[in-house]
Subunit: 325 residues, 2 copies
């Protein structure tokens, strides 16, 4: 049996309008009336219908998250940390995995706006989504440049790229290759590559970046990794832009007879819980996932409350010392 | 500027009621009128308000997922696969990570019911949540026994446990330990342990199960793993009930001087994408995540449509051949 507002009114001995006023905290109400209604709600275990409630209040207490996929250790951890903080702040989370599919991202965005989410946190990797500009909705981006009005939270990508490249050079590598996603995607993550190029040049070394698109399937990625070894047989160091690429590089190199780290040194990027648990031997740049989640949720709530916020927040990274350099 | 139903009515040259009838496909309407309204909607890029629309239709096209945490390679992959299929079927996904917290699960459940989700898919690991019995809502469980009315989708846990134990015995292990979560949790995953005990006894070997709770933090888990080696110094094989435990056991054993697989053989359980990418050396029982997601979404939609469904669906597992046995 579903308990309705009429039942609450009957048990409390007041009108439906009074119950609805108590629920929405509107109009003058005596303490006695408020107590009677709350007692009836407790007695009947009444759960007010959120859809109906939304029509009074403007807020839905829903936040949408659009990320490539939770089937990736970094995004899985990030989404889990965001969800934890949003839950504590009283929000429920609608999730969309938009990977590999700008159309899916656009559909999500339209539907989330139509469902009247109070705000969005976005880290998807598609380009040219116009709806964000017209969304008229509080949005916070993680590692993605959307437009000049949308705040961006990132780890210190430049420092991460610098640390990674210096680790490789200091451990004796000279022919160091970098992997990165497509350059047309506007993300601060490209600063990892910028730093790599700067550090290489400072040391009189030639930078070479090979494309590995996050959205590719495993076969495409494996092919791209194979090509690194064909094209650059002298390679003795690789700075991979994420740990999954680094793991694939490690496996491929081992099959080709390279000993890690003697013949080839590898540094990854992300350093999620899962990666550090399953592949602790990988030296990697650890993103501050918890701090990024805290900053993103705090900034989104400030935006929802109509407050001004910083447009860019950069959070320090650290090195996870494995055995791959 | 937000486009409103009044704007559509004005551009189409019809009344608001007519626009709303077209949107909701109600009442008699001429083809000409329908076309005029659709042209105006396209021209203005009007997006009907989902909240208002919900009041006409009963369905919300929202499905809630309650799982321990997407910060785990198996649940991350499962949630991603569920989301993909629900999206294709026209549903949006509300997600709750309930790990370690029955109160959080209960809060989620109340709020999801109050938000009028059309259904729930649940794989959370808490016990004693009464709300499911009163939810009056289509629910499908993955690897969890809820009540006699709620269909359960699982991998073939008994076969998985049998395969794992036989792999260890056939590769020469005699003192084989199993890890499992608390027995009071009603999940078909315990059948892995039942199979382990049956196979051990069939071979005249003594079964011993050590408790590692999925909800424990890493320090607690590490302590429990240490105790296995203190308590059973003769251990030469371990069947871990998930790959994260298996990885932790591998690391601990290596630190203690065991060579894998010469001194100690390990078989895990789950075999997610991420585990096979980061730790391909781990021999493990691979759960059929895609098939489980397909079965769960299909069953939920049948339930939403008021159809009868199977109460238990068990999907075959396979062995991922690593180098840990």
């Amino acid at each position: 049996m579903v308990v309705k507002i009429d039942d609450v009114a009957k048990v409390a001995g007041v009108s439906k309008t009074t119950v609805s006023r108590v629920l929405n905290n509107r109009g003058y109400l005596s303490e006695k009336t408020i107590k009677k209604v709350h007692d009836a709600i407790d007695y009947l275990n009444y759960q007010p219908n959120a859809v109906a409630r939304q029509l009074y209040k403007k807020e839905t207490k829903l936040v949408g998250l659009i990320f490539p996929t939770v089937d990736n250790p970094f995004f899985g951890e990030l989404v889990a940390e965001l969800e934890k903080r949003l839950f504590d702040a009283g929000f429920k989370v609608l999730i969309g995995n938009s990977m590999n599919d700008p159309e899916k991202e656009e559909t999500y965005l339209k539907e989330l706006i139509s469902n009247q989410v109070d705000g969005l946190i976005v880290g998807a990797q598609n380009i040219g989504i116009d709806e964000y500009h017209n969304a008229n909705l509080p949005v916070v981006a993680i590692d993605r440049v959307m437009n000049e009005d949308i705040p961006v939270i990132s780890s210190d990508n430049y420092m991460g790229g610098k640390l990674a490249t210096e680790l490789l050079i200091n451990s004796g590598a000279k022919h160091i290759i970098n992997t990165d996603g497509p350059r047309n995607l506007e993300t601060p993550a490209h600063r990892r590559r910028d730093a790599y190029e700067d550090v290489m040049k400072d040391h009189g070394l030639d930078p070479h970046t090979c494309l590995i698109d996050f959205n590719w399937d495993m076969d495409q990625k494996a092919k791209a990794v194979q090509e690194i070894f064909t094209e650059y047989p002298e390679v003795d160091g690789i700075f991979a832009t994420n740990d999954i690429d680094a793991a694939l590089i490690w496996q491929t190199a081992t099959k080709l007879g390279y000993k890690i780290p003697d013949d080839l040194k590898i540094v990854g990027y992300d350093g999620s819980n899962t990666t550090r648990m399953l592949l602790p031997e990988l030296t990697t740049i650890q993103q501050p996932v918890e701090e990024m989640a805290t900053a993103a949720v705090k900034t989104l709530i400030q935006r929802i409350d109509g407050k001004k916020t910083d447009l860019e927040q950069t959070i320090p990274v650290k090195v996870w010392q494995g055995q791959s350099i």
